[in-house]
Subunit: 367 residues, 2 copies
């Protein structure tokens, strides 16, 4: 374990000195592969002109798109491979036959220190399985989590785990708190992010045992977070904390339910504003405000969910996004690299694990 | 257990014959007690003129409100008590000092066969604890659940458990499916409701063990439901099933998250439609459509969450609702009594438990 950490710290150190930043992209991932990934990278380059890209995939399919973006071409290197992971591939299949695939090589570029961030719009399960194999988990971390941004009435919040694992021990929930805080620091520049544990407030049962235990630890220990205690589902969108911690089953259900509700509301509003000629005229008059609303709700702006707990930055983009959305995912990775997230998070986790010491569950001791 | 069932079936039989229906109301429950409960009952009576009411609580506080509604007064009987459960009381406190309270006596009226339904806007935990003591759970049922209506793009769906318990065994999830189906039959008149199990679709992990096992049972067994398999959080609002089954922790988080998202969206829409003079004019023109939208989203229309799994019908009203909302809760109870829910559900559960027989978990054997 120490070997791994030391090796990793050295390569990370080298990267940190070696401006410009390099980001590797799985060019074959997502519903449309290079047709989205390449123009997405071009958009990201406008926002972050200091980035170099490694585009991994079928050269013959990447090249025509790349030629349309000369500025990007000048800062890109294609790594050719014939192998691509399909969206339907099961993680176990993907891992078996996926060595040498565009997804694998994009991750390997991070492992080798050639890139700081890997971004893929491919199959979530396959990406998670490969990322664990290629980058391995941070010291003391058993399983990585998926984090995401959640729009609130204020700035966005971070919610994790969004479904990488079902269930979480108290210790894992405490780890999630630090991981989410590291992401909030990276994306929003908040030094001591406010963190809440998602819970339910019915009856005397105030949540499951794991949630209670994690609550006690987060309250008692000196940590680089502003721990705010329990939050309930209706408070996520109020933005009263920067980071919401929850195990992956409930987290995924919360995320999907919120997405579904937002779509449902949007359909209702559309219906209300087309229900009569007067309503249509009204909608025309209110067009600018409604357009701002639409922009605000645009899921592409929130695209890019990091896998946290790995020895490297991996960003999962939605498979069906467009170039604008893919550029957002690259942006998330860029911000995380900028904030030196991995070094800081590794230290935070080591400090927490040191404090919890004897309370370590058996599985964490193996890690 | 058989004694209880037989006794109960007899009293239920008597009630079913004895038109008109009688509903007992905890007149002291909720933020405003009789000031909401009495006019709520008056509204419900307009919709269901065959109902008699038992109003339980402080006579001196109930009487002045009742006098303002002569039609209601003619069909009501006040049962006086000085004792009322406070919203802040813990369930254990409420049970200790709450015998003889308005909540207790309203439930007791159902247990004695004097009423078919009890409705309370009081403390959820106290109501649940008392309902278990007074009415006891149905044969083979360990813990009651809270169900609720969820607005969808079609008609409403039923979602349960909304937070009565954390976690659920496979057998309990299967019970929830039948309970929710009974409620859908009562409220929507659907003979074989479509039922889905809430799950997450990430990676190869397709949900927790309990959810998988319940899925297998619901698929294999001949039941009075149209079992549709797994649904995800974003599908609840699409109305693709009539009943969504989930354990109470994730169910409560889903409900609260949806409520929070709906409020957040409403705030965004309000902001968009007041962002400029043109937008305000537009909103005026679209007023009728927007008013219809507001009506559609009105939470008062969905008020009234039944506790299912008890030997009697108990409806929990939101504590902060108004007379219109309280009348909705009474309406839910009325429909459930009309559909002969308890008799039918008891039979459905017995049939399921007979089929599962040997797979019964230890705790169910005790029941």
């Amino acid at each position: 374990m120490m070997d791994r950490l030391t090796h990793w710290q050295v390569t990370q150190g080298e990267n940190a000195m070696a401006a410009p930043r390099t980001i590797s992209l799985d060019a074959m991932g997502g519903d449309q592969g290079p047709a989205i990934v390449v123009p997405g990278a071009a958009l990201a380059l406008v926002r972050h002109p200091d980035v170099n890209f490694i585009l991994v995939g079928d050269q013959a399919r990447i090249q025509p798109h790349l030629e349309q973006h000369p500025a990007l071409e000048a800062r890109s290197r294609i790594v050719h491979t014939d192998i691509a992971i399909e969206m339907q591939d099961k993680p176990s299949q993907a891992v078996r036959r996926g060595r040498g695939s565009s997804m694998w090589l994009a991750l390997e570029a991070v492992q080798k220190g050639e890139a700081e961030v890997a971004v893929s719009a491919g199959n979530t399960g396959a990406l998670m399985a490969m990322a664990k194999l290629v980058l391995r988990t941070m010291p003391g971390i058993e399983r990585p989590v998926i984090a995401g941004q959640w729009p609130t009435v204020g700035h966005n919040s971070i919610v994790l785990d969004l479904g990488a694992n079902i269930g979480a021990s108290a210790r894992q929930l405490a780890d999630f708190a630090l991981m989410g805080a590291a992401m909030a620091r990276a994306l929003f520049g908040i030094e001591r992010p406010r963190v809440g544990l998602l819970n339910i407030g019915v009856e005397e049962i105030k949540g499951i045992e794991e949630v209670r235990q994690a609550h006690a630890w987060l309250k008692e220990n000196e940590l680089p977070i502003d721990y705010r205690g329990f939050v309930e589902g209706d408070q996520i969108g109020q933005g009263i904390v920067d980071v919401v911690v929850v195990e992956g089953y409930a987290g995924n259900i919360a995320l999907k339910t919120a997405e579904g509700t937002a779509k449902q509301m949007a359909a209702y509003v559309r219906e209300a504003l087309t229900s009569s000629l007067a309503a249509k005229l009204g909608a025309l008059l209110a067009e600018r405000g409604l357009r701002a609303l639409k922009d605000r709700m645009d899921p592409r702006r929130l695209n890019g969910g990091p896998f946290l707990g790995l020895n490297g930055i991996v960003i999962k983009s939605h498979g069906g996004t467009d170039a604008f959305g893919f550029a957002s995912a690259i942006g998330v990775g860029y911000d995380m690299a900028e904030s030196n997230l991995i070094v800081r998070l590794t230290a935070d986790l080591q400090s927490l694990h040191g404090k919890l010491g004897e309370t370590r569950p058996p599985e964490a001791k193996q890690a």
